[in-house]
């Protein structure tokens, strides 16, 4: 009369806690997960193929639209990748401004992660405070390049324009109060017993598995590895900056939370150093009118807020557009770890696991 069987349910693609159109197919035994498959592709636009038909200059606008909460990092990856392909040297001042904006972007990305992740788990208040600071940084982007989200901030060879007058003041005003703001988030979460119950020991992923799956970024660093491309293969002006790589060893959701908060503090430090040591000089290198590539291939990786963001270009002789372009998107590769994290755990932990991976579906599907 009674029988037990495995149940198959879909989480998403319109579930509010999947942060976009992510569908997760779950096999449940009671409330325990036996199998978990992320189904992706709902936001596929074919950015890599589109970029093959655009010039190196035009292709940058598509990078805004892959990871749309960290578009400045994506712009940097594109610009530096193309500069590597053509052997362009960027002025030092441009490097400093790029570093500063990328770190500000890291803060916005982590703030959005913090707000939505806490909201998923049930802490409503921190979302409002996180978005208050995020708003301020988006105004800084608007002052610099005219757009808040789809920035198109950098150009191949440097920057379009120098910093606008008054931007330094805006950044300094933000810097003056941001450390207190992080303390506020910590007041709300770090010692909060509900938060600790929901995050400690949840969605474990040890360093061995993380490296085997190619997981990078805060998820890997929370497992004890200190792999950070800013230190391992310095790009922009990170070689001149003094900062530490945030690591934890617990490899759970709580450790990743601590790593991201510490990364925001380190980003704050880097921005201060950029502002203090901002060199004088031009912001744009001398470029030929039309960029024509040789037969060449280049892989350039940067440390995006979500992990290793790589741009791979293949040039053909005399071509104005890349023959092939590939994005190594950190969200896409980190999403593989979801199944490893949640199998054998409860259904409610899937929400925490999706949140802690910090996936952006625009980047997963591209």
């Amino acid at each position: 009369m009674f029988k037990t069987e495995e149940m198959e349910i879909n989480l998403g693609p319109q579930h509010p806690s999947t942060h976009g159109v992510l569908r997760v197919k779950l096999h449940l035994d009671g409330e325990t997960i036996t199998r978990c498959t992320p189904m992706i592709g709902y936001l596929h636009r074919g950015v890599e193929k589109i970029c093959e038909n655009k010039t190196f200059f035009q292709g940058q606008v598509w990078t805004d639209r892959t990871d749309y909460v960290a578009s400045v990092s994506n712009n940097l990856g594109w610009a530096e990748g193309v500069e590597k392909l053509f052997g362009i040297t960027v002025p030092r001042r441009a490097h400093y401004i790029r570093t500063m904006l990328t770190e500000l972007n890291r803060i916005t990305s982590h703030l959005l992660w913090l707000g939505t992740h806490a909201l998923d788990i049930g802490a409503m208040t921190v979302f409002l405070y996180a978005f208050r600071e995020r708003e301020e940084i988006l105004s800084i982007f608007e002052a610099f390049c005219g757009a808040r989200l789809t920035t198109t901030a950098f150009r191949i060879g440097g920057l379009r324009e120098d910093l606008p007058p008054g931007l330094e003041k805006l950044v300094r005003a933000f810097q003056a109060r941001f450390l207190d703001c992080i303390d506020e988030y910590e007041t709300l979460l770090t010692e909060n017993r509900i938060w600790k119950k929901r995050t400690i020991g949840v969605a474990l992923l040890n360093a061995e598995d993380a490296i085997a799956l190619g997981v990078t970024g805060p998820v890997l660093r929370a497992a004890g590895s200190n792999y950070d491309i800013r230190k391992a293969f310095p790009y922009a002006s990170y070689a001149e900056m003094d900062f530490e790589v945030a690591t934890q060893t617990a490899a759970d959701t709580y450790a990743r939370y601590l790593v991201r908060l510490e990364e925001m503090r380190q980003a704050h430090r880097i921005i201060n150093q950029c502002l203090d040591g901002l060199p004088e000089g031009p912001v744009m290198a001398k470029l030929p009118k039309v960029l024509k590539s040789e037969v060449n291939e280049v892989y350039h990786a940067i440390e995006a807020p979500k992990g290793e963001l790589g741009y791979y270009f293949v040039g053909e002789k005399g071509g104005q557009n890349p023959y092939r372009m590939h994005i190594r998107a950190p969200s896409f590769i980190n999403l593989q770890a979801l199944s490893k994290m949640v199998v054998g755990r409860l259904l409610a932990d899937v929400i925490a696991a999706i949140g802690t991976l910090d996936v952006v579906l625009g980047e997963v599907d591209r």
């Binding site: 200059f57 292709g59 606008v61 105004s139 610099f144 324009e161 506020e184 909060n192 017993r193």
Partner: protein
């Protein structure tokens, strides 16, 4: 690490909840004290549709053509903006006009529905004949209203988009 006695105390007395409520209460009280009192307001909420927002000088809005002091079109049909546009929303037709040495655009079409507001066209223009103005309330009811042309089109390239029923920002 906290001592065992301290952690026991933490378990018994909800310090964490107290800390969180204190922070929430602080901001709640702050806003409540300043509400409708004419004091300096510190809350971040913008009453946008009623109060127009302020934009940064570099804001990227709608593409607009500029005329010079004599009322003459500044565009000389170099096609730079048409070539650079990543979504190919600009179409220019070259022509001649009486009493003008430089080429004159007979047609300058701009399809706003596909525009991504990247400002590459303005950047490529060597004659400062186009700008992105500060308009952002560009929604309309009809698809045709997104097509802009120099003359005879649905919307004029030279004038800002007419302020619609729902937008409140002034025409500047």
């Amino acid at each position: 690490m906290a001592s065992p006695r301290y952690s026991l105390l933490r378990t018994l007395i909800p310090f964490d909840i107290y800390g969180g409520m204190k922070l929430t209460g602080k901001y709640f009280g702050k806003v409540l004290r300043q509400a409708n009192r004419g004091l300096k307001r510190t809350h971040v909420v913008v009453e946008y549709p009623e109060v127009p927002t302020t934009l940064m000088p570099r804001f990227r809005g709608r593409l607009q053509m500029i005329k010079d002091e004599q009322g003459e079109v500044k565009c000389v049909c170099c096609m730079a903006c048409e070539k650079i546009c990543p979504t190919q929303v600009i179409t220019i037709e070259k022509g001649k006009k009486e009493g003008r040495k430089t080429p004159f655009p007979i047609r300058y079409d701009f399809e706003m529905e596909r525009c991504i507001f990247c400002e590459f066209c303005v950047e490529s223009c060597g004659f400062d004949s186009i700008i992105l103005n500060h308009q952002f309330e560009l929604a309309t009811y009809n698809r045709e209203d997104f097509s802009h042309a120099m003359e005879g089109g649905f919307q004029n390239m030279f004038d800002p988009t007419p302020v619609s029923h729902y937008s409140v920002s002034s025409e500047d």
